[in-house]
Symmetry: C2
Subunit: 151 residues, 2 copies
DNA sequence: CTGAAGTTTCAGAGATCCGTGAACATTCGG
DNA sequence: CCGAATGTTCACGGATCTCTGAAACTTCAG
């Protein structure tokens, strides 16, 4: 693993962490994305990043729950191996749908309290309509991408 | 403004802040979204939320730069009035395109360093392809929504 | 069954982030 | 112009979040 590749990985992690992802989670994701090995063990990652095994455990758990990485059934001797999942990015984007649904619901709640024919009600209706639209359209969009991959 | 509406606003702000938005920014956004007035002044918002004017200034600046709210040219007497912008949500979603572009670029960088015919290169190609696809599709998606609004 | 390697959990230290409050700047009515 | 009302900036302190380190737990080879 060249220094240049390591540097690119860290740069990427830094960017991600500016967009809401925890720093350690971003670094671990980057490590698994940029490594030339097919998989890495928790120990390898924590050594490469120079962080404790405790931090590893947390970050790996998060990434698994996000559907970005997966445990690999240990080929032979050692312990847990991890790898970046095929289709991880599409999975990540799909999970945004939950957020869209949340926004739609929040708007509905607000409309109920505010009343439809009020300033707040009208504002909330625009919000509900927009997120409702996105919620209907996104799954198809992602689906179409997946179909171009696996025809 | 009923207590019930205020409560719904705070609940909404809390949700937003769990998804990356700063707490204060989320609360101010919620106040302007849920108010029954057409506009609010900075003073009105900070009083309603019980926070300092300093915090207001920062939050309002952020929301303006995000394209979520706008200054209203002061109808008559007082100072700055603010209101939630028409089409704010679509604007917000459009700004995500910058993130998509960033991800695409990061992948390109990585591929250049890693080489195409390597494990890292192939992983990064999937990433580049996915974000490239989203980047091409999103503007049209949002455009179509805007066209249904203003035919 | 035993012990070593690996992993998870968690309390607390350290770092980071955010809002306050006050000083400074700006704007507009008079 | 002047000055009162409003807006902005920023250093500081408190709140929050994150990582470490160590102890407990798990798993597996022998």
């Amino acid at each position: 693993m060249t220094d240049q590749l390591l540097a690119a990985a860290e740069r990427f992690a830094l960017t991600l962490s500016q967009y809401g992802l925890q720093r350690m989670t971003a670094r671990v994701m980057a490590a698994l994305l940029f490594t030339q090995q097919p998989t890495m063990t928790a120990g390898e990652i924590s050594e490469q990043l120079g962080v404790s095994s405790g931090a590893m455990s947390g970050a790996l758990k998060t990434l698994i729950s996000l559907g970005m990485i997966e445990k690999v059934p240990a080929p032979g001797s050692r312990r847990e191996h991890f790898r970046f999942r095929d289709g991880a990015w599409a999975t990540l984007m799909s999970q945004q749908n939950a957020v869209l649904a949340l926004m739609t619901d929040a708007a509905d709640d607000g409309i109920e309290v505010a009343g439809e024919q009020t300033p707040a009600g009208r504002r909330l209706e625009e919000m509900r309509d927009f997120y409702g639209y996105m919620l209907r359209e996104m799954p198809g969009l992602i689906d179409r991408w997946q179909r171009t991959r696996n025809p």
